[in-house]
């Protein structure tokens, strides 16, 4: 577990973490990340990415562009892929956030497994975001077409796209197997 600085306290009561909070600066926001509730008492306009990285030290979500363009910061918001670098804390606070660190259960997620098997990563920097985008895609489209896969707009500067395609198809197979 990452070190938790003092202003990121885990709340004692997690009974209703999704309860909306008013976005006033003095009222701490409660945000649920990887199933755990946290308080944020800073600027409600701060993008989720900086709370994840600077406050919680969940550094798997990367900073790439700061304008929601490249996808290196992709997280799941209620299961849907979102760009954490442009997602204000006030919005994140009303949803369930899953980061790359929260994807793995007892075992690797099939998408992570497929990524390793297809040896996708080169520099690796965009890959957490790519994995999160693929998890979202496969939830919506368990048998994705080539065009479905290409709808993932996350940038990869190393050019790993062909192996990303293979990994997504492999993950789809792995998940198919799990459902049987």
């Amino acid at each position: 577990m990452p070190d938790q600085p003092a202003h990121a306290t885990e709340t004692a009561d997690s009974a209703d973490p999704a309860k909306p909070h008013p976005a006033r600066p003095r009222e701490p926001l409660q945000v649920t990340i990887n199933g755990k509730p946290y308080f944020h008492d800073g600027d409600p306009a701060m993008p989720l990415l900086w709370f994840l990285r600077d406050t919680l030290r969940l550094t798997g979500s990367k900073f790439g562009c700061g304008i929601g363009n490249c996808g290196a910061c992709t997280v799941l918001l209620d299961g849907k892929a979102m760009r954490a670098c442009v997602l204000p804390m006030s919005v994140a606070a009303t949803h369930q956030v899953t980061t790359i660190e929260g994807l793995e259960g007892d075992a690797l997620h099939p998408v992570q497994q497929a990524w390793i098997e297809e040896d996708v990563a080169q520099c690796g920097y965009c890959q957490a975001g790519q994995v999160m985008a693929a998890v979202d895609l496969l939830k919506r489209k368990p048998k994705p077409s080539d065009d479905d896969i290409a709808s993932i707009g996350n940038l990869c500067r190393c050019g790993t796209y062909p192996r990303i395609r293979k990994a997504i198809l492999r993950a789809a197979e792995l998940m198919q197997g799990e459902r049987k």
């Binding site: 994807l103 992570q112 690796g124 920097y125």
Partner: protein
């Protein structure tokens, strides 16, 4: 686990490289304290070092140190494979850890306990092929000696396999059991014998990225992921004008932002002086976290002085380059063979064309940045680097600290492509940390990155060729007018003006009897640097497009023309990086295979065009072919073929990845990317105006063929890029009969169609 070292029980075998590159092996006593620079995760209670790269645990787990800078080229996997092969262990036994920068003072001067750690010029594997295999073999030799002693047998009778020493009678001892006694044995006087290739069990086997699990679970730590408890986050507002300066600033609003701690001015280089510190002047905002720093930066009110380049624009640079080529005076002769003028007089055909290539940014997915801590008598840097030695020198120069007291830790880097060969961001971090009196975590945004880079040079290539009556190329001139790559280099370095733009011995030099190469310098205030396969991506587009134009003008087959020019397989002198020889047969072979794979010369009626190109880059031979069509305003790439010969492929899975990625990087760059300058300012800001290729635009796959070879390996990080742009432009011509002579290709093609 405690990070305690019982120094009394352990001896360290020090292997270091002298300046001449000889392997020096010696024994020294371990210090009472942990060896400086050894990462704590390497330290345990029950393990033994056998040289700087090998650590053996009692339970026979093998830890191998990866010395290189991992920027996506795969050296964290391939370099330990070289050590593991000669150590003779099972790859499954091996755990790899990233080594820090290994600076040491020696009697002969500064040295590095790990050898060469930089990432540039695709040399990591070829360097490691020499010294890392020896390091592995030396450790194995020590283990065999230890077993020989234990059993009272001659060492020659023993053999090793999968991390065990075996005696003729079937007795076995694991490396783990032998490690401690092996570490007490004096290392060999002579270099020990290396394996023969037929004995390889790891080299040549497709091997996955060793830390893939960390990457896909988000646990992998890049430079940007490093924090220190008391460090402040810094962002810098840099002067947007080339060589501009800070006139004045008002930080009243900035200081009101909750979390902002301080605001300090940063002095940039003086116009004309070397870039051996920060790249630009600016104002740094220090804050408790990134968001506060960014918010604070937005609220700064700054007046800039525009500097000497405020009239500079891309249009004017292109005009200047063409003017220099038109006037054709005062150029620097780069190579002169035979008599081109005479060849021209006797020529049946003359072909001429000019090609323009733009400035490029590196746009590493992880922007530059650094975490630095400077104390009275020491400093510590953690960052994504390509030149840790340069970073160490930079910090020493700026702080006055001794090199040995500066710890430099490299993390996995989110791309390099040459950007991190520069350490301007380290210099900035030092200045800010000194001003703040606190550790600093410097962050760059994408805007900072695109606006303040060491750009790939801009230039225009003017080519001409003469053909004799037999349609053979009898004369060749290559005149290049460009913003020279050598520009205000730090450390007093002087290189020939044509470095990185026009190479004396590149194709077709040595193959055409009458040949001239001339370079013309175009003055510019844009900082210039190394960009993946620098020279080669800069000029292969011109040369390999031009060959196609010659073939078309003289009604010859473009592949046959190239093969005819390459001639009989032979080795010819090549003085540039990747030499000393260029093997015409190896280039011809990748070209032939590439042509066969794409179906070159087959009759088509689908309107698709096929283009091909080949190039020699840093000792590697690559050919590319593409099948394309134009549908409306879209270019479709139906097939992408890449054939490469990089000698023996240490990790074929990694070589394939580099070729696939290099091909897509080449396409991304050739199709859409350019940095332009207007009124002394870079015009691009973020990915919307520097649009890297996305999956939907990229070919579904890249068909990579790796030529089997017994030749010593070269790297693979850069060889996959240079022949992409010309093969693509040649394919576009085949599909449309429109010849694109200016990159990026898409805007130009749309203008011309």
């Amino acid at each position: 686990m405690t990070a305690r070292v019982d120094a009394g029980r352990r001896r360290f075998l020090a292997i270091s490289l002298t300046a001449a590159g000889a392997l020096v092996v010696g024994i020294r006593r371990a210090n009472a304290a942990p060896t400086p620079g050894v990462p704590p995760e390497l330290l345990g209670d029950d393990l033994t070092d056998l040289g700087p790269f090998v650590r053996i645990e009692r339970d026979n787990r093998i830890v191998i140190g990866a010395r290189g800078c991992e920027i996506g080229q795969g050296v964290i996997t391939s370099l330990p494979m070289l050590v593991a092969e000669e150590l003779d262990v099972d790859w499954a036994q091996v755990r790899v850890v990233q080594l820090p920068y290994g600076y040491i003072d020696t009697d002969q001067g500064p040295s590095n306990r790990y050898g060469d750690q930089g990432a540039g010029g695709s040399t990591s594997v070829s360097d490691g092929w020499k010294d890392l295999r020896e390091a592995g073999a030396t450790a194995r030799w020590l283990l065999v000696q230890a077993a020989a002693k234990e059993w009272g047998l001659p060492a020659e009778q023993l053999r090793t396999e999968a991390g065990e020493v075996l005696a003729p009678d079937g007795r076995k001892l694991s490396y783990g059991a032998l490690a401690r006694s092996a570490a007490a044995i004096a290392p060999p006087d002579q270099p020990v014998a290396l394996k023969r290739p037929e004995q390889f069990r790891i080299i040549g086997k497709p091997t996955r990225v060793v830390d893939a699990r960390e990457i896909v679970t988000g646990r992998s730590r890049f430079g940007i992921d490093e924090y220190a408890a008391d460090a402040l986050v810094a962002v810098i507002l840099r002067c947007p004008y080339l060589d501009g300066a800070l006139e004045s600033f008002d930080d009243a609003e900035t200081r009101k932002v909750a979390g902002v701690v301080d605001v300090v001015a940063i002095a940039g280089p003086k116009p004309g002086e070397p870039f051996d510190g920060p790249l630009a002047s600016g104002v740094a905002v220090l804050a408790e976290h990134t968001w506060a720093a960014l918010r604070g930066r937005e609220l700064l009110k700054v007046q800039w002085k525009q500097g000497p380049w405020s009239g500079e624009s891309s249009g004017a640079l292109a005009a200047r380059a063409n003017e220099l080529l038109d006037r054709n005076e005062g150029g620097t002769g780069v190579r002169h063979d035979g008599d081109y003028a005479k060849a021209r007089k006797q020529a049946r055909n003359v072909v001429e064309a000019r090609y323009e290539v733009p400035f490029l940014a590196h746009a590493t997915m992880e922007p530059p940045g650094a975490l630095i801590e400077i104390k009275q008598d020491s400093a510590r840097l953690v960052a994504s680097l390509q030149s840790p030695g340069g970073a160490s020198e930079m910090i020493a120069r700026m702080t006055g600290l001794a090199r040995k007291d500066i710890e430099v830790r490299m993390t996995r880097a989110g791309g390099g492509f040459g950007r991190r060969l520069e350490n301007d961001f380290v210099a900035e971090a030092v200045l800010v940390a000194k001003a703040a009196g606190k550790p600093v975590k410097l962050m760059w945004t994408r805007e900072d990155d695109l606006q303040h880079d060491f750009y790939r040079p801009f230039g225009v290539h003017a080519l001409s060729a003469t053909l004799d009556r037999r349609k053979q190329v009898s004369g060749w001139t290559h005149r290049c007018a460009a913003t020279p790559r050598p520009y205000r280099e730090g450390g007093g370095r002087k290189r020939p003006i044509n470095t990185g733009c026009l190479e004396a011995d590149d194709f077709p030099a040595g193959l055409v009897a009458n040949l001239d190469k001339t370079f013309f310098a175009v003055e510019s205030g844009m900082p210039r640097g190394w960009w993946r396969a620098p020279l080669h991506t800069f000029h292969a587009f011109a040369v390999q497009s031009f060959i196609d134009e010659i073939a078309i003008a003289s009604k010859q087959d473009a592949v046959k023309l190239r093969l005819a020019m390459l001639g009989e397989p032979r080795k010819i002198p090549y003085s540039g990086h990747g030499g000393p020889q260029f093997d015409t047969g190896r280039l011809a072979e990748v070209l032939r295979r590439c042509a066969a794979k794409i179906g070159w010369g087959e009759r088509r009626d689908d309107g698709h065009g096929i283009g091909i190109a080949c190039h020699f880059t840093f000792g590697g031979y690559t050919a590319h072919a593409f099948e394309v069509s134009i549908e409306g305003r879209e270019l479709r790439i139906h097939r992408a073929v890449c054939v490469v010969d990089v000698g023996r492929a240490v990790n074929p899975l990694g070589v394939e990845a580099q070729m696939m990625g290099g091909t897509i990087d080449g396409l991304s760059t050739a199709l859409h990317l350019a940095i332009t300058v207007k009124e002394g300012q870079v015009q691009q800001h973020n990915f919307p105006d520097y649009p890297l290729l996305r999956m939907a635009q990229a070919p579904r796959g890249v068909e990579v063929e790796i030529v089997a070879s017994d030749a010593d390996p070269v790297g693979a990080g850069e060889m996959g890029v240079p022949s992409v742009a010309p093969a693509l432009a040649n394919a576009v011509y085949a599909a449309t009969t429109v010849r694109v002579r200016k990159l990026p290709l898409m805007p130009e093609l749309m203008r011309m169609l």
